[in-house]
Symmetry: C2
Subunit: 123 residues, 2 copies
């Protein structure tokens, strides 16, 4: 184990059941049994899902007698959003600056080898 935080977050959100749980927690805290109700699986399975979300830092759990209400920690969502935004913006920027199009110059304009100018081997 000891996986990086970002992987844990993305991995946690890669499951539709887990995403659905997050969606419901966004509307308010909920206990395990409340969360488990809608899905056709055992409460144990949902407990595992909850554990995954917890390990990813997406939910925290408090104590109320034998109940352990789950609470969405929205801050971690920003971690993922931050990553996504960064590269979305980079790609967009690259597109805007037309590097892309320059690399695909129609060859009938100029006989200059349009393929890699000097992309040696490293980088």
């Amino acid at each position: 184990m000891a996986v990086d935080p970002l992987s844990r977050v993305f991995s946690a959100l890669a499951d539709p059941t887990r995403r659905d749980m997050v969606a419901r927690l966004a509307a308010g805290d909920a206990t395990l049994n409340e969360l488990a109700a809608p899905y056709g699986v055992t409460v144990q399975a949902v407990s595992k899902h909850l554990r995954v979300l917890e390990d990813a830092g997406l939910v925290s759990r408090s104590r109320d007698a034998q109940r352990r209400p789950a609470h969405l920690e929205a801050a971690v969502l920003d971690l993922a959003t931050g990553w996504l935004e960064r590269y979305r913006r980079a790609a967009e920027e690259r597109y805007r600056r037309l590097d892309d199009l320059l690399a695909r110059l129609p060859d009938d304009i100029d006989p200059i080898p349009p393929a890699r100018p000097e992309e040696g081997a490293s980088r």
Copy 2:
């Protein structure tokens, strides 16, 4: 098989190697061998990663003789960002509206039972 698009995207991004590839593709298209260079794995393994990204719609590949340059499709990143933003905002909104804090009213102000008003026992 036949997994929903959002799961595929998050799942694809759950691997650090794959995220790194996305990061590099954000800077410009690259071939399989170029992508494989930095990692201590075989080219076949990277090919599989690329396939996963492709299936998630995150990259497209064109044809240039025997080369198949990979190109980042930033639009799909928006799919993920959109989902994240939605629930981050929902949670934030809930927090801002103080529903949260109301639910945790200090008991020394009011003896009204702060716990679930009518959550019987049924269900």
